[in-house]
């Protein structure tokens, strides 16, 4: 047993607070918008120059001038504003976004994050990820607990130290995987702590699939 993608997104949505401005990455993080509690005001930022991102358009109502950072067609809301990429990243780098939820290839126990390149493979670029993790106050990673290799074996993604090129150093505050939830004391020496287990997952399951050192502080 482990959390589904939707359950991981729902868990990430519990990190939202009323009045938050949030940037959601591609993949599972995008699903978080489906779990914003009713009555809570959360404005989504899209780093290509938009605050107040709405849902996908109805078929036939797509607007080529209205896309998100994943280049998907989206819609506007009454709260929406548009701005340039320079203003958008001023907002990000200046610490005005409350929360960034994004995917990762690897996270280290000190909060280091790798999610943009694998040496030897075609590199597509970091896009806005380095700015987001450097600039946003609180960074939550949502990812599968382990990577599945082509030969069927598994590789740990929660590591003592990332071996892939970094996206940022000491930037991750929380990691939500299909197996549980960890916090990271990225500024201090508190390291990584396991604070929740997914339904049906044991601490031993996690221990077996985690290279990083962590303390256990289950509620």
């Amino acid at each position: 047993m482990a959390w589904t993608r939707d359950e991981m997104a729902a868990r990430a949505a519990r990190e939202l607070q009323d009045g938050f401005y949030v940037n959601l990455g591609i993949g599972i993080p995008t699903l978080v918008s489906n779990f914003i509690p009713e009555g809570m005001s959360v404005q989504l930022q899209s780093e290509n120059g938009m605050l107040g991102m709405g849902p996908f358009p109805y078929e036939g109502e797509e607007d080529a001038d209205l896309i998100n950072a994943g280049k998907q067609t989206i819609t506007a809301l009454p709260t929406t504003s548009y701005f340039s990429s320079a203003d958008s990243f001023g907002m990000i780098r200046g610490g005005h976004i409350n929360l960034s939820i994004l995917g990762a290839m690897q996270v280290a126990e000190n909060g280091d994050l790798a999610n943009w390149m694998i040496p030897g493979k075609m590199v597509k670029g970091m896009g806005g990820a380095m700015d987001l993790v450097a600039g946003v106050k609180r960074v939550v990673v949502v990812m599968e607990h382990v990577a599945k290799n082509k030969d069927g074996s598994e590789s740990a993604k929660l590591l003592k130290a990332c071996d892939l090129p970094l996206t940022g150093t000491r930037v991750v505050d929380m990691v939500i995987t299909d197996l549980g939830v960890f916090t990271i004391d990225k500024r201090g020496e508190g390291g990584m702590r396991l604070i929740e287990l997914a339904e049906g997952v044991t601490e031993a399951d996690i221990r077996a699939r985690t290279e990083a050192d962590y303390t256990v502080a289950l509620a």
Partner: protein, 245 residues
């Protein structure tokens, strides 16, 4: 002093030379100056360094200039929606300098604003900071980044007046406003060309001072890279923030 040119080729006449640096507005295929890219292609100019967040897709946007091998080097944040790009890159025929998207945007903005260098925390401790000065301010580490300034910028706007005042539409704004400020010559294609005074002076995104030449290119069908929709029956996602608070 006439800024308006009859077509894209005319708007670029005399401005193109091999090996030059060109900034090209747009994010993905959104807000790209497609007619001007086409005119650059038709000119046959080559060995270009292109500053653009992305590199188009096969046969669309900057993909057109890749097909014809007119681009020698890209400065971008994210590429590779493009098979031809990948092929040339892996064959060592195309150079690429990756910049974090916000650093790219700010380097361009700085270039236009007379700021030769600035500090950012983006990329500290990563490959991006290699070979660059890293300095501490108030207990935090920052990397120094240099500005970008091009020989030519090509941008796309929704509306422009004959004075060069521009207004962008929705997320088609993206990199266009900064690029308009950061080149020796900026050429704009506009979907709608109007008389001065038509756009409210408070609503102008790019003042005409930055625009040397304009060409009216009525919007044809715009390409969409990722067409994502929801079904009519489906309710809007609970949150996504909407509505008065």
């Amino acid at each position: 002093m006439k800024k308006v040119h009859p077509d894209a080729t005319d708007a670029l006449a005399g401005l193109l030379r091999d090996g030059m640096t060109v900034m090209c507005g747009g994010f993905g295929l959104c807000g790209i100056p497609d007619a001007l890219i086409e005119a650059v292609r038709a000119s046959g100019v080559k060995g270009l360094t292109v500053v653009s967040n992305n590199a188009g897709i096969d046969g669309v946007g900057l993909g057109k200039l890749l097909e014809t091998r007119q681009v020698a080097r890209m400065i971008s944040s994210y590429v590779g929606e493009n098979r031809e790009f990948a092929r040339q890159f892996l064959a060592g025929e195309l150079e690429i300098e990756f910049n974090p998207q916000g650093t790219l945007a700010e380097r361009i903005r700085a270039g236009g604003a007379g700021v030769p260098a600035f500090f950012t925390k983006t990329g500290v401790g990563t490959k991006v900071a290699e070979g660059k000065e890293v300095r501490e301010f108030d207990g935090e580490q920052y990397v120094m980044e240099r500005s970008l300034f091009a020989d030519l910028a090509i941008v796309h706007a929704h509306t422009g007046d004959t004075e060069g005042n521009l207004r962008y539409r929705k997320t088609a704004r993206n990199f266009n406003p900064m690029m308009a400020t950061a080149a020796r010559v900026t050429v704009a294609e506009v979907e709608n060309l109007v008389a001065p005074g038509t756009i409210d002076a408070d609503d102008i995104h790019t003042p005409g001072i930055f625009i040397k030449r304009i060409v009216h290119v009525p919007a044809g069908e715009k390409r969409i890279e990722q067409r994502t929709v929801r079904k009519r029956a489906e309710a809007a996602p609970a949150g996504a923030g909407g509505g008065p608070v």
